[in-house]
Every structure is written in structure tokens, then in C-alpha cells.
């Protein structure tokens, strides 16, 4: 079990700035996120889209902002625990014990939930039968390419993931690429490679088609696809790979005994504490009168929540407000030698 001063759930911009605000007041933290990298919505939904309302930064992309925040928290050397979702939160005396779906345990007097709209998960196929074959014959990501050797594979989606995997797996077998419209959304060179493979007969493209049904009882044997005019076509498939991006799900947060209203957590704006002592919520996931879902609001919320963590983390010390421009102890924590 890892013991620390605060556990931060969510590595988006707000969570990252919480690391900074805890760090400059001398508190340690551990950050947990379900994605495979830090950045949250900024990196997952709009890495290339410019943001124009970060104070002092006239224009930056989601990726640039994330990189800047990561650089800013480097001195604090906090640990990131990625690719895992927090499943359980339990109280033990004056501490909170957090367990992830990978079985990792953390203990701290404070939790800062910076979970955005919830954790990112792959968007699943809408057909009910898809659940039955998920993990065996239907996948939303690829972990083991060997599984697909000499098999019939149907890939759904029109973006980079679908196109990249169609290209990669077409080296091993015949691929059917199915998309709801004729246009694909992908890098130009990827699209031209797909065309090449189509001419070679390695990739069969079916557009504008969507999945209509999945055939097979214990084992999936094939699928049926339908176009907009109702034309049906059967395709033999051993495997389905589906790439429809990510969705955000509140997930287990709903089970931790916190007040939740409209998928957000009401907080007290003095400290951003929730209805549970020592559990704070900041960023898009918190709500209060006048709440704005802006990154800059998340920064302010993190600053106040971090100060509120001090009392429970160091009950025998008194928190003293200091400026980064003048404080020798802050300079020490930042590793600035003067």
C-alpha cells in the first residue's frame, strides 16, 4: 500500500495543476488515471485544437498545455499510475483507502477527484449480442496481434485507429473495413495506403454500411451489414474490431457515498470539499452555483483544494500562505538554487 498526503484521481489539466499546488505547499501525492497518458480530455479529445482562454497564454493546443503542466510539476516527482481506474474508496480511521482495478492500494488523508466527466472507455457496439462475444471475438483494442493470424476480420470505424489496424492486420489476412459513410477521416498517407491495399485485394471496403446483426450462438460465425437503403450483406467473420472512439463514464465514483447531481459532485466553494471530509472535487466534475466548465476555473479550484488538504495531511503544523516569488521554502521545493 502506497501512503501519501493526497490521492489525485484524474490526470487532466486540473489534476496536474493540483499536483503543483500540493507540491509548492510541501505535500506529496499520487495520481491515478484510466488513460495511458496524462492530459485527460485535452490530450484525448482535442490534442490539436487551439485553446484561447488560458490566462497569459494567447493560444495553445491541448497537447501543448498538457506538456507545459507536466514540465511545471517535474520538480515534485510525483508518481503516475496510468491505465487503471479507481474502483473503491473506503474510510480507515482518518485516512481514505483507494483501490484500483489493477489491485493497487493507496492510502491518504485526502482525495482530490479531478475526474472530468468520468473515465474514458471505448465506445461499444450498440447490438446486445456484442456483449456475448466481447473479449473473445469482439475487441475494442488490440493487445495480441497473433490472435488474428489467418482469420477473417471485420473492422468498424472511419478514423485513424480503424485505418491503422486495417493496414497492419492486412499483412496477415484479408480485412473487411466497414464504415457508415464513404469518406474516411484519417491522415492522407494512410488513406492512400488503404487505397493501394484495396486494389491489391487485401482490404475490402464496405461503405456506407453499418452493423445490422451478429450471427452465431456460442461462437460468432459472421455478421450482417446494412446500408442506408436497407441493402443487406452477410460477411463471414472470426473477429470484429470496433473503433468508435472513447466515451466518458462516471463509473464507480457514483458508489463512493458522495452526493451526486446530474453526473457532477456538489462542493463547498471555500475548500472544494464534497459531503465527505477529506474528499475534494475539482474541475468539470464538481458543481456549485455559478460553476463554469473552464480549465482556468479548474486551476483555481485545485489551488483551494490543495490548501484544504494541508490540515488533514499535517495536523500538527500550521499552514502559512506564501508567494512563489518570495518564499525560500517554495524555491527549495521547486529545486531553484539561488
Amino acid at each position: 500500500m502506497v501512503k501519501t498526503d493526497a490521492i489525485i484521481i484524474g490526470a487532466g489539466p486540473t489534476g496536474l495543476f493540483a499536483v503543483h499546488q500540493l507540491g509548492i505547499i510541501g505535500l506529496k501525492c499520487e495520481v491515478i488515471d484510466n488513460l495511458n497518458r496524462a492530459g485527460g480530455q485535452c490530450i484525448e479529445l482535442y490534442p490539436d485544437k487551439p485553446i484561447y482562454d488560458i490566462p497569459g497564454i494567447p493560444e495553445c493546443t491541448g497537447e501543448e498545455l498538457t506538456n507545459g503542466l507536466l514540465k511545471q510539476i517535474e520538480p515534485f516527482k510525483n508518481n503516475f499510475h496510468l491505465n487503471q481506474r479507481v474502483e473503491e474508496v473506503k474510510q480507515e480511521k482518518n485516512s481514505w483507502v483507494v483501490k484500483t482495478n489493477k489491485g493497487n492500494l493507496f492510502s491518504a488523508p485526502n482525495i482530490i477527484i479531478a475526474g472530468g466527466v468520468g473515465s474514458f472507455e471505448p465506445r461499444k457496439l450498440s447490438l446486445k449480442e456484442a456483449e456475448k462475444f466481447e473479449g473473445n471475438q469482439i475487441f475494442y483494442s488490440v493487445t495480441n496481434k497473433d490472435l488474428f493470424k489467418n482469420k477473417k476480420i471485420s473492422i468498424f470505424g472511419g478514423g485513424d485507429s480503424a485505418l491503422d489496424w486495417a493496414l497492419e492486420l492486412s499483412k496477415l489476412n484479408e480485412i473487411t473495413l466497414i464504415h457508415r459513410r464513404n469518406d474516411f477521416r484519417g491522415a492522407t498517407h494512410t488513406l492512400s495506403k488503404i487505397k493501394e491495399k484495396e486494389q491489391e485485394g487485401k482490404i475490402i471496403i464496405k461503405t456506407p454500411y453499418s452493423l445490422k446483426s451478429i450471427n452465431g450462438d456460442k461462437t460468432m460465425t459472421g455478421i450482417e451489414i446494412e446500408n442506408e437503403d436497407g441493402k443487406l450483406e452477410k460477411i463471414k467473420s472470426d473477429y470484429i474490431l470496433s473503433f468508435f472512439g472513447l466515451v466518458m463514464k462516471l463509473g464507480p465514483i457514483a458508489d463512493w457515498g458522495l452526493n451526486i447531481s446530474n453526473k457532477t459532485i456538489p462542493v463547498d466553494t471555500k475548500s472544494f470539499q464534497t459531503n465527505k471530509e477529506g474528499i475534494f472535487a475539482v474541475g468539470d466534475i464538481c458543481t456549485y452555483p455559478g460553476k463554469l466548465k473552464l480549465i482556468l476555473s479548474g486551476f483555481h479550484e485545485s489551488a483551494l483544494a490543495a490548501r484544504a488538504c494541508f490540515k488533514r495531511a499535517k495536523p500538527n503544523e500550521t499552514y502559512k500562505f506564501e508567494f512563489t516569488t518570495a518564499s525560500k521554502s517554495i524555491h527549495g521545493r521547486l529545486g531553484i538554487i539561488k
Binding site: L45, R123, S126, G158, G159, R185, E228, K249
Partner: protein
């Protein structure tokens, strides 16, 4: 104020007045209409405000940007009448607009 009709997947109608300039998505959120999630808050990044616009209204809407089509690829059961409601701005021309919401957004 233009009236917008939100029809749930099982046919329940909700008629609300939406101020000019707001989007159809914002009209739903501000009136607590279930069926439009709008997880990203209207930045055309999540496809959870997906709606179906009937043929007679579809052509009256402003043309879709490529980015909206790209996002609709991710939506739950899109068809040729699909739009993202965060990209439909309410105007006097849209008074009486009816949209249908999918059975779910994710």
C-alpha cells in the same frame, strides 16, 4: 422565442422555448431534457448530443462542417438524418423544429 420540440426515442414530446442564439443542445440541457448528454459541453468533441432531424427540417439547417461529420462517426447509431445538436443554433427560421433523440448517447 422559437419553440423546439424534443422527442424522446419512445415518442414523448417536450416543447420548450429556446432563446435565439443558443444551440439545440443548450436548450435541452437548460430545460433538463433527458436524452442529450453533451459530455464535452459543446466543443464538438464527444458526439453525445447526437439527434435525428427529420427530412423537412434537415435541409433548412446550416451545412455541416467536416469535423461534425467526423464526430458523428463516433455517435450511437447515426444515420443520414444525424446531427450534433451543439452545432444547431436556434434562429427564427428554426421555430417549430422537431428533433428526435437516440435511445441512448453512449
Amino acid at each position: 422565442m422559437p419553440k423546439i420540440t424534443y422527442i424522446s426515442h419512445d415518442g414523448k414530446k417536450n416543447i420548450v422555448e429556446v432563446p435565439l442564439g443558443l444551440t439545440v443542445m443548450e436548450g435541452a440541457i437548460q430545460n433538463n431534457i433527458q436524452g442529450i448528454d453533451a459530455d464535452c459541453g459543446g466543443s464538438m468533441a464527444c458526439a453525445t448530443c447526437h439527434v435525428y432531424v427529420p427530412e423537412n427540417w434537415f435541409h433548412k439547417l446550416e451545412k455541416m462542417q467536416d469535423a461534425e461529420q467526423d464526430m458523428l462517426d463516433m455517435a450511437y447509431e447515426p444515420n443520414k438524418n444525424s446531427r450534433l445538436s451543439c452545432q444547431i443554433t436556434v434562429s427564427d427560421q428554426l421555430d417549430g423544429l422537431e428533433i428526435t433523440m437516440p435511445i441512448k448517447q453512449t
